[in-house]
Amino acid sequence: MTLGTDHPPGGLVTALRAALRAHARHHTAAWQGLTRFLPFVAQRAGGQWEPVLAQAMERLRDEAPDEAALLEARFWQGRTVQALAYQHHLAPSTLYARQRRAITRLAQHLWSLEQEARVQAQAALAHKCRHLPPATYTRLFGLAPALERLRSWLLSPDGPRWVLIEGLGGLGKTTLAHAFAHRHISHWDDLAWVDAHAHRRTWESDSRPLDTAALIERMAWQLAGPTLAAQPPQHRAEGLRRLLAERRVLVVLDDLLPDAVAPVLAVLPPPPAQTRFLITSRYRYPEPGAHLPMRELNRADSLNLLRAEIQHRGLPPLDDDALAALYDRVGGNPLALKLTVGHLAFLPLERVLEGLTHLPTGPGEDLFAYIYEPLVAHLPPDARQVLNAMPFFAPQGATYEELQAFTGLPHARLDEALYQLMHHALLDLDPRAPARYFIHRLTYVYLTRDHRAKIAEP
């Protein structure tokens, strides 16, 4: 028998001893004290601890039959230490020592069962998350009230069957849906995440919206595989509706057009089915229902974001008045705030505020160009070379080796260039293997616009 590599926590042995004594005295809730130490086993057992103890005792019996027999006699048959010591011609103190050893060993077996249950639970969780796209955030700002509202709507058996998150691009609709799905994944039997657009994976390609039949096919594919998805359309829709009625599924439909909402909702079964649709859209859907509008960050959340960004970039902290002055000039758009912090890497606060006083009031992109220009102008030559290379990589980003081969910069100079770009908030790193450096879409738009000539490499 192989035990888990980790040792059981000390408290487990004490709790097990107390539980065994309570069990010997026929207490009904004898094992409940173990829940704190064995949460995954408890969840799997669903309150039925006897089979769990039986399994652990079975393993103990295989390893040390004498110790298993001793525990059985003491805590299941209720025999006293004196009686057993007399039977085995041992001193009571010797028997107590053996009992201590047996309880420790039993705790080890319970701990290995906990490790196994944890691995199984993690595998089940990973299976449920198989369609969840990777997170694009490390910390969330200003989403707590929206997350709470989604929780109260979608986790309630009597809540609305679908919720629509509405708002302009870049305000965090997909992030909100992702955070909700990830946070409450255990509530659902399964999760489907359907991007309502077919993407062609490059900055230059357009994405086109999928039609209703394709959306239903993708849902069927994710939840039941080819056996359902490959059915003729009517059969497929009926099969999907049945599946959604039988199971508790969260279906996220990301970036749906208003015209597609009603046809897609036709496959959502009525109560008492517990399946819920969470839809994000850039447009308003006129029909009544659970609508959640997204807006820019408020003052407090914007200041928190600024603080976090300043700390992340290793810049000296700013007092609240300075942060408020930045917010007053830039507003609550998360990306604009982040880029503004990049200015602080090379300009004193007074100069940054002065520059932001004359922000253009035209379309949003001009604001970003205005913010980008000083950032790019202050870059050293190597950093400009790397930045100029970035648009020639697809949006998912380039590996270190690719950037090195592409730019021909030696390691030390490339390292410094990457540091500079990240320090100025012009580049981000996706740490998932293989780690990749990537730019934001607006950075791409800025770099490939006409004024790109202004940042020619020296």
Binding site: R201, S205, W221, A230, P232, P233, A389, F392, A394, T448
Partner: protein, 356 residues
């Protein structure tokens, strides 16, 4: 001290290539060295497509653009990214026609991409774009005739397809064996559809004789077509062709052709009394066709699925499959296929799916 030291010095620091030029050269080399089963192939191809599109917009030179496009064609087509690639190449043609003037073979690449994506209206448009240029160049004219013939074959105009294939064959010089092999494939398919099985087999064998040992893609395709000519009478030969086609196409990593092969293999499995195997092969084909959103492939899937469902006695669902297949073929404007689906719907029993 090495005497070659001086030659390794850069010739001029003022002639550094632009980022677009660097990108085109870098990705062309990278794709050339890309192993067929590389794990990050999809990522590399996406980067190269991005570089091609942006460099074209930024006015990179036609030769470099054409070189990268030529390197991209094979890997993208064999991975089933036909629609994506057709859109990219079409965008390149619209933005930079000079690239296609520099390398006329790219016109054929664009035609093959639209054809594989089942966008026959687009094929027609591109054919007319290149017709004028082709008049003066014999091999290009043969290539376009072949493409046009393929289009007509897919639209169900088999006699016309045969005529064009024969013309293309006469125009193609022996120095272009690849084009000759492709034309034998079309000749095989057209004669088979017209019920001339012996002729079809002969063209298939002739094509195989023209193939080099390592031309796995074409060997696989021709064995696939020979499988069709062997059905439904010679099941032994059909099995042999299926085995060989699968081996060659797998070696060539030709996923798109494999999907077509699996769909056609259902007819063999049904003839051998193995409906479960037929169903399994069909689902494999569906999995690929849905991924690449191939309209003709999916329409073909639904027709095959109807045949298999009829064979399994699932009449209601079989009729739904057949009706949906007919609808899809009608949307594509292929009346011959619509008629085959209607025959499934209205006939007393399911006819042989490969009846010409």
């Amino acid at each position: 001290m090495s005497t070659s030291h001086a030659t390794t010095e850069p010739k001029s620091r003022n002639r550094e290539p632009s980022p677009a030029g660097r990108a085109l050269a870098y990705w062309a080399t990278r794709i050339q060295r890309l192993p067929p089963a590389a794990e990050d192939a999809a990522r590399v191809l996406a980067h190269a497509r991005q570089a091609l599109q942006l460099a074209a917009r930024q006015g990179a030179d036609a030769a470099s653009l054409a070189r990268l496009a030529q390197h991209l064609h094979g890997p993208l087509m064999s991975r089933g990214l036909v629609r994506t690639w057709a859109h990219d190449l079409q965008a390149l043609l619209d933005l930079r026609p000079d690239v296609f003037e520099h390398t006329p073979a790219l016109g054929d690449s664009l035609l093959s991409a639209w054809t594989a994506a089942g966008e026959w209206q687009r094929v027609q448009e591109v054919l007319s774009t290149f017709q004028h240029a082709a008049a003066e160049r014999r091999p290009l004219a043969a290539q376009l005739l072949h493409r046009h013939g393929s289009l007509l074959w897919m639209q169900g105009h088999w006699s016309a397809a045969l005529r064009l294939a024969q013309q293309a064959w006469r125009l193609t010089p022996p120095e272009l064996p690849d084009l000759r092999i492709a034309i034998t494939g079309l000749l095989l398919l057209a004669t088979w559809r017209l019920g001339r099985r012996k002729h079809a087999r002969r063209w298939g064998l002739r094509g195989l004789a023209l193939c080099a040992a390592d031309q796995h893609l074409w060997r696989g395709r021709l064995h696939h077509y020979l499988l069709l000519t062997a059905l439904p009478h010679d099941l032994t030969a059909a099995s042999r062709h299926l085995r060989l086609a699968e081996a060659h196409l797998s070696t060539a990593q030709a996923h798109l052709q494999l999907a077509h092969l699996w769909a056609d293999a259902t007819d063999l499995y049904l003839a051998q009394g193995q409906p479960d195997r037929a169903e399994e092969a069909l689902l494999r084909a569906y999995t690929l066709w849905r991924e690449i959103e191939d309209p003709a492939g999916l329409a073909d899937y639904y027709r095959h699925a109807a045949v298999v469902a009829f064979a399994l006695g699932r009449t209601r669902v079989a009729r739904e499959y057949a009706a949906h297949a007919a609808e899809r073929w009608r949307a594509l404007g292929v009346t011959a296929e619509v008629r085959r689906c209607q025959a499934l719907l209205h006939g007393p029993k399911a006819p042989s799916p490969n009846a010409p």
